[in-house]
């Protein structure tokens, strides 16, 4: 999303300057929401990348996820979130301890 502003057309950039301060603020908030969505999508990409590597290990003979692959992918996401929480909790403890 770094280049998002650069990707706006010149006309849009021009009309950006004509917006009222209130409109600018509204636009900023909505743009932030878009940024959050992009961040979520990036997480989904990296989770799919990681979990595919871990869960799809046998020969690829069908386009569907089989009976063991599907739950493995789901568990992989859930355990990643658990692990993430563990890190956050641990850091929190360290912060309070000092």
């Amino acid at each position: 999303m770094d280049n998002a502003l650069g990707s706006l057309s010149p006309e849009s950039l021009q009309s950006l300057e004509k917006l009222s301060p209130r409109e600018k603020q509204e636009l900023g908030q909505m743009a932030m929401q878009e940024v959050q969505k992009v961040q979520i999508q990036q997480t989904i990409h990296s989770l799919t990348d990681m979990c595919f590597k871990k869960c799809i290990t046998s020969r690829i003979s069908s386009g569907k996820l089989d009976r063991s692959e599907e739950p493995c992918m789901q568990n992989c996401v859930d355990r990643y979130m658990d692990a993430n929480m563990t890190v956050i909790r641990h850091l929190e403890q360290l912060r309070q301890g000092s």
């Binding site: 917006l19 636009l27 969505k37 990036q42 990409h45 979990c51 386009g63 692959e69 599907e70 929480m85």
Partner: protein, 89 residues
């Protein structure tokens, strides 16, 4: 002329969608090339092509499963990430 705010948002969304599609294709190719073409020959064999087709579908299925699972989790508020709950993804 259309609402300039809306126009800008549309452009951002379009850009994000493009980026999303590009990331998917890139990752999919990375995994499937690794899995289906272990020793590149002079052309893609028919078994490699079949493997690639299955692999693409499988990777997209995996992506969908991860999406559902991850969005479900963050909507429950698990994970403590910065992301709030919003649907329509």
């Amino acid at each position: 002329m259309a609402d300039p705010k809306q126009q800008i948002l549309d452009q951002l969304r379009q850009q994000a969608a493009l980026q999303n599609a590009r990331a998917l294709v890139e990752k999919l190719n990375e995994h499937c090339f690794e899995r289906c073409v272990p020793k590149p020959g002079t052309s893609l064999s028919s078994s490699e092509t079949t493997c690639y087709q299955n692999c693409m579908e499988k990777y997209m299925a995996a992506w969908n499963t991860v999406s559902k699972q991850y969005l479900g989790q963050i909507q429950k508020g698990v994970g403590g990430g910065s992301a709030g709950a919003f649907g329509g993804m």
